[in-house]
Amino acid sequence: MHKFLIRSFVSSLVLLFTLTVAAVAKDVKAAFVYIGPTGDHGWTYQHDVGRKAVEAAGFKTTYVEGVPESADAERVLRQLANSGHDIIFTTSFGYMNPTNKVAKEFPNVKFEHATGYKREHPNVATYAARFYEGRTILGTIAGTMTKSNVIGYVASFPIPEVIRGINSFTLAAQKVNPNIKTKIVWAFTWYDPGKEAEAAKALIDQGADVIAQHTDSTAIVQMAEKAGVYAFGQASDMDKFAPKAVLTSVENNWGPYYVDRVKAVANGTWSQKDTWHGIGDGMVVISGLDSQMPSDLQSKVKKLQADLASGKVHSFTGPIYDQKGNLMVAEGKTADDGMLAGMMTYVKGVEGDIPK
């Protein structure tokens, strides 16, 4: 009887110990707050792919989708922080103030805010991707592949992120083909397939034979496929939606960063930082190049990709002028991150004005 009691006592101790160890090592819970539905096959979808990578690495995750950038966000964040989550990723620009506010109330929970710049408390970190590097590659391809010298660009909202993309794209396209014109249509939506398709159709009807996009749905590449012009995938590899039209895609790859940060929490090594990763760190990924691209262009693109990754080439290397001809970046200089983060003027060669 005694023996039995001792044995069961010991075994339960062992069991308890194992459970505790497991809990310490693995029981970090991560939460993700999304602006859109995970079914958008764009921005939120790619973040959710990243979340799944965290899950695959053995951590528990939760997500809340379709959270408005208002007082609702605060409520959701508070709830997540209260329910035992150790790290919370807020994946839209508008969550900036709610994230900082709630972070103050929960100093033991780590907060990671995407695309923002405010880190008011030691438990808030920010992260973003240098998508403009991908657009330098797209501009190079578009400038080479266009025959009509008119390139269409469907844009979403006039914010620095989008303006930076248009500028980076246009600068690269002009470099390989000084005669090109970039026509921009603002759709004022991140995803509305119908509207995006209509915007693309308008550009195609007006002579554009390459279409770039800074909205999230696959409607634009499908429209390009129907009309027999070229296009580029956005956020994820869109090749299967338009095998003939899509020359390549710029993919958002959040997974490695998310796994890194959650592991850092588990190991106790997490610290506040501001991350802005590009092609070099694998946060921006260029999908496979289409075989319709001539082989010299393909090798040029691959070299450019390597140079952007190593830092040998910068997307914004001077001399760069704005539309009025004022010097933005001097010869031999590159734009610093502060300038890039607040970029709200078109470079020379972009047509039209930025809508107010």
């Binding site: 995970t38 079914g39 979808y45 004022f188 119908g194 995006e196 398709a197 809508p355």
Partner: protein
């Protein structure tokens, strides 16, 4: 830039293509409203049609099954509305709004497995005639069967309401269910049928979006077109031919706006987005100034529940 006739033809063709879902949903809702039932669930029925069509196309591989399946899905979801408002005599407005919220939610749930799958190519008719006549060719040829059906539908609907006996019965039920009932018409049956027909057309409108216009499934992909279709019915003063005109105007606003942007003319986008609703309010104000006009065009018992006293 050079304005050539083919370019104008292309723009008109784009506008017509964007008007198709509005025409289909509005013509369906018009019949429902003519029978005296206000169904605010158009957006919900459309999104159910969109996911059902896309899902069936992906699973079965048959476009015909998908199109009719989407219509059937619209019928099924509108049956819920019909049962609630006609059998349980619930409030039309509240039930319709609930239907929209329900539709958006359930379509997102079903749609989870269909995100990121490319749609199939939908066959177009008269492709070979595309370059034969300047200006008219892009307008007349190279569209899907649903496109041609949509542009015939307002005329069919108009004929149905004005010239057929069943059309007269639908109008009678919408204007005075009491008198119709006294004449021996089964009001509840007529209203059920009108609601289900409206559901079928909204389902087809949704399927057009997810299978033909932008062949893919994305949550919330109807993007408020159901509400514009509802506004369109009021705008048209319950006249199917005016739906055709209104749909071209409402659908054309975005496209004209995009073309102007590409040319370099700037118009405030927020204003254009609000324009369909502003125009509808103006039309409402104009028709409500003339009581005779209201009596003539509005179904008198619109949105009122009908209890048959036994």
């Amino acid at each position: 830039m050079i304005i050539d006739v083919n370019f104008v033809g292309l723009i008109i063709a784009s506008i017509m293509a964007s008007a198709v879902p509005l025409i289909l949903a509005s013509c369906g809702e018009l019949i429902t409203e003519r029978s005296g039932v206000l169904n605010l669930g158009v957006e919900g029925m459309m999104i159910i049609g969109a996911i059902s069509g896309f899902a069936l196309m992906t699973v079965t591989g048959s476009l015909i099954i998908a199109v009719f399946g989407a219509m059937l899905a619209g019928v099924l979801i509108s049956t819920i509305f019909a049962f609630l408002t006609q059998t349980l005599i619930t409030n039309h407005v509240a039930t319709g709004l609930a239907l929209t919220i329900f539709g958006i939610g359930i379509s997102a749930m079903i749609g989870k497995n269909f995100v990121g799958i490319p749609g199939k190519e939908f066959p177009v008719l008269f492709e070979g005639l595309k370059d034969t006549i300047p200006l008219l060719s892009p307008i007349l040829f190279g569209h899907s069967i649903v496109f041609y059906f949509a542009f015939a539908l307002p005329f069919i609907t108009s004929y149905f309401l004005k010239k057929t006996k069943i059309g007269l019965i639908v109008r009678a039920v919408g204007d005075s269910p009491e008198s119709a009932s006294n004449q021996g018409i089964n009001v509840r049956f007529v209203r059920y049928a009108s609601i289900l027909y409206g559901g079928a057309m909204c389902g087809l409108a949704g399927a057009y979006l997810s299978m033909i216009y932008t062949p893919q499934w994305i949550e919330n992909m109807t993007g408020g077109r159901g509400w514009i279709a509802l506004a369109l019915v009021v705008f048209s003063t319950w006249n199917p031919i005016k739906i055709l005109i209104g749909a071209m105007i409402f659908g054309g606003l975005t496209i004209i706006q995009f073309h102007m942007q590409a040319i370099g003319v700037r118009i405030p986008v927020q204003f254009l987005t609000a324009l369909p609703y502003i125009v509808t309010i103006i039309v409402l104000v104009v028709i409500s100034r003339d009581s005779r006009k209201i009596r003539l065009s509005t179904p008198s018992s619109l949105g009122k529940s009908f209890h048959k006293d036994n």
